[in-house]
Amino acid sequence: MAEGMLTFSPDDRYNAFLRTVSPARYGEGRLRGIPVAIKDNISTAGIETTCGSRILSGYVPPYDATVVSLLKKEGAAIVGKTNMDEFGMGSTTENSAFGPTKNPRDETRVPGGSSGGSAAAVAAGLVPLALGTDTGGSIRCPAAFCGIVGLKPTYGRVSRYGLVAYANSLEQIGPMAADVAHANLLMSVIAGHDPKDSTSLDAPYSHTPSMEIRGTRIGIPEEFFGEGVDPRVASVVWDAISLLERKGAEIITCRMPSMAYALAAYYVTCMSEASSNLARYDGVRYGPPADVRKPWHEAFQERRREGFGLEVRRRIMIGTFALSSGYYGKYYAKAQAARRNVREDFGRLFAEVDVIAGPTMPTVAFRFGEKSDPLAMYLSDILTVPANLAGVPAISVPCGKVEGLPVGLQIMGRWMEDERVIDVAYAYEQGANP
């Protein structure tokens, strides 16, 4: 019996899923019959894919993203599409056009974002595995807030073909799971070269996690424990780092001066790219059609005004401004220069240490509405965006709690050393839960 059908009827009181598939077809392979949830910005043939946006409601892709094909090839059952901040723009999943997702650890709080639906689905035990996407922390933030494991792979290690673009040069699809071993398994299925993605690397991922970290040098940048980081969170993370030291790792404090510009470089880059990526949603091809009785430019404007949410419109407008002639040099070009600085900082540090560790998020999960000021929301990404700017792998692994809410330990590695990042996270996880 090569194929089968899986009935999937989760008790989704958290609004983790935008839609579920039941029964879900599955086949032979390493993930035979395992239910996997897919973030709604990853194309699934025959299953509506909205990116949490009204402007894409009703859009059913005619093709599978490469990662979805790979999952099917290994026998996984694609059981549903998970909620997210519209087009990935947010850190709470409150920006979904289809209502927020609740954090299964505390339903009065956000699950983080933008892959909040995937994180909640795993944390609530609805699925063992889920795919998220990470542009500036969108896998790691909800993983930390919901108390699960989330890996942002090295840029290029997982194909982006079929991932609806928000900020192409920053984002990666990555695994989310309850523990490191499962994240590692999912990573081994989705990673590898894809000729359909010109930025894809030819580096298959086949790894068995090892908890042996003796002699591993772990860099701790001062900036990761600076202003804005909740001291209670910092303290939990320091405890985790001490555990790694006891396991034989060498702890080296260091500095990352480029952190001062990282957030600005990140937001200018992602908003600029987004303003271009989202131009195709004009009412001609997707979602509710543009009003054909009006001149096309008026109809486009109307469709876009009504179809996009507030945060998306804000980012499109800022991105459009940053790319406009006369401002390009001041914003976009400068952001790219700052990005090079971040990369150089990582390069310098990685000459002396093997991984860099710190908190994933400066605080625990917010209450709903707590970050209504967009700037306050942007600031919460400060610890996750450097890895995206540099294209290096980074993982968030649960490392304790503050007032009952999960805290994530973030471990960043050298370019292409996803395996080492997994090992350090695994060593912590196994050490903390013997």
Binding site: N41, I42, S43, T49, C51, L56, Y59, P61, P62, Y63, A65, R160, Y161, G162, L163, V164, A165, A167, N168, S169, P195, K196, D197, S198, T199, S272, E273, S275, S276, L278, A279, R280, Y281, D282, V284, R285, Y286, V292, W296, H297, F300, T320, L323, S324, S325, Y328, Y332
Partner: protein, 477 residues
């Protein structure tokens, strides 16, 4: 008042597949939206993968135009909204083009001239709008994405051209060069589009957008020269603006000034890696190009410069000529360049619709004097009409036979051949001319030759008529 013209030429590269996906480029005879996939439809999540062949083709052009290929070139996004634009941006090259600083030598208004090429870059064609319910006030428009993603190169010249005629000559030379390179098919509809910048020295520059035919470029520029010169004579200022060429009326009209303000917000395409192909250029072996072939035609076939230039000005024509040159290249050159081209033009036909063996057959008949030159032209006309109508034609022999255009024999011993008979009749009917001739008025002979030709419906060879008449007139003396 000096005219200054620069051109931006967009040509579709004749690759088998599109620039960023595997869809076929052979869409012209198929229904709308049949040559599409997630990539060229710009579906969410799809990613471009650069067509290696298209890069090779573009590099061939760069090399033939003597350009420098920089170490690195970059694809950028040109952002604007339009219903035919699948992604809301076009992937093109901006500040780091594929090739820069080349030139092309042309036959200018004052002899051989070097036109500098600023840059050559690659980009994708957008889709196409099909307007329904009248061109002027369409009721609605449909979008066809078959064309979306067809590889284009844009070739930009320096403002080195000095007249509309020079601009046309440049275009013809460029077209020939691209066709010799095997990267372009000028016969495909919409395969070439031109934007022209034109100014009268000392005043503002006007851009004429989207001229879609070779003849259109010269027409549009000629109209602009007149318009601008007249305006200046009346003391008006030329406004810097974009104008559209209305092909049907042969005029340019002012486009809304809004288009001038368009800010394309270029930035590097994050889904494609920078292109590093400078070292491919050395490996490219260029085929024989128009100038070289022109020289060879003069050397190998002994052609005049004018014939050689005409015959090499178009790849298909040059190839056609080489197929029919045969044993009498001079005769073939005259027939192709002076006769056939004019007849084709008159019928709006292309050289590719003429089977070379049919034309060779005709040349053999003429060369063997089976038909006269004049009747050869008549046979050619009939054959071309047949080709135009049904794509095939009878053989030249059959045609000449059917029309009774075979040259008449004039050498029977008994004097009963048709030419001698006609000559006898002509002499008998025109005693005055005979007398005039005998009285020394030699031009009377021309009159008699004409009479014989008329009686033989042009099927007598002029040399035969002269000989027979001379002989008959001599007998009677």
């Amino acid at each position: 008042m000096n005219v200054i013209v620069g051109l931006e030429i967009h040509c579709q590269l004749d690759t088998k597949t599109k620039l960023f996906c595997g869809c076929s480029t052979d869409y012209r005879t198929d229904g709308p939206n049949t040559h599409v996939c997630p990539v060229c439809l710009g579906l969410p999540g799809s990613l471009p993968v650069l067509n290696r062949k298209a890069v090779e083709y573009a590099l061939r052009v760069a090399k033939a135009l003597h350009c420098t290929v920089p170490e690195e070139s970059v694809f950028s996004r040109k952002n604007y909204f339009y219903p035919d634009l699948n992604k809301g941006f076009q992937i093109t090259q901006y500040d780091k083009p594929l090739a820069v600083s080349g030139y092309l030598d042309i036959e200018g208004d004052e002899g051989e001239k070097r036109v500098r090429i600023t840059r050559v870059h690659m980009e994708e064609d957008p889709g196409r709008l099909v307007h329904k319910g009248g061109a002027d006030r369409p009721r609605y428009s449909l979008v066809d994405y078959n064309r979306a993603g067809i590889p284009l190169i844009e070739i930009v010249t320096e403002p080195d051209l000095r007249s509309p005629r020079e601009a046309r000559r440049f275009l013809n030379k460029l077209r020939a060069t691209l066709e010799y390179l095997g990267v372009f098919d000028s016969e495909k509809e919409g395969s070439l589009r031109v934007d022209a910048n034109i100014s009268i020295e000392g005043s503002e520059r006007v851009e004429i957008k989207n001229i879609t035919s070779y003849k259109g470029v010269e027409k549009a520029l000629t109209f602009e020269v007149t318009r601008q010169k007249n305006a200046l004579r009346r003391g008006q200022k030329i406004v810097r603006e974009t104008r559209h060429f209305v092909e049907a009326r042969g005029v340019t009209t002012s486009a809304r000034s809004k288009e001038m303000e368009q800010d394309y917000r270029y930035f590097p395409e994050p889904d494609l890696c920078p292109l590093r192909v400078a070292d491919w250029v050395d490996g490219i072996v260029l085929p024989e190009l128009p100038d070289a072939r022109r020289q060879r035609f003069m050397d190998q076939y002994g052609l005049s410069l004018i014939h050689a230039r005409t015959l090499t000005g178009d790849l298909r024509l040059a190839e056609f000529y080489e197929k029919v040159a045969g044993t009498d290249p001079a005769l073939a050159a005259t027939w192709v360049a002076d006769t056939l081209l004019g007849e084709l033009n008159y019928r709006d036909m292309s050289i590719s619709s003429v089977p070379p063996d049919v034309f060779s057959g005709l040349l053999s008949l003429v060369r063997a004097r089976v038909i006269t030159d004049r009747n050869g032209v008549d046979v050619l006309r009939v054959l071309l009409d047949e080709l135009k109508e049904k794509g095939t034609c009878e053989s030249p022999e059959a045609c000449a036979e059917r029309l009774g255009l075979r040259a008449l024999p004039a050498d029977s011993a008994g004097g009963d051949d048709p030419v001698t008979k006609a000559a006898r009749e002509a002499l008998a009917e025109n005693p005055r001319a005979v007398e005039d001739y005998r009285n020394g008025r030699k031009e009377a002979l021309n009159f008699l030759v004409g009479q014989v030709m008329r009686k033989t419906r042009g099927c007598a060879k002029p040399a035969d008529v002269n000989r027979v008449l001379a002989s008959l007139l001599g007998e009677g003396a």
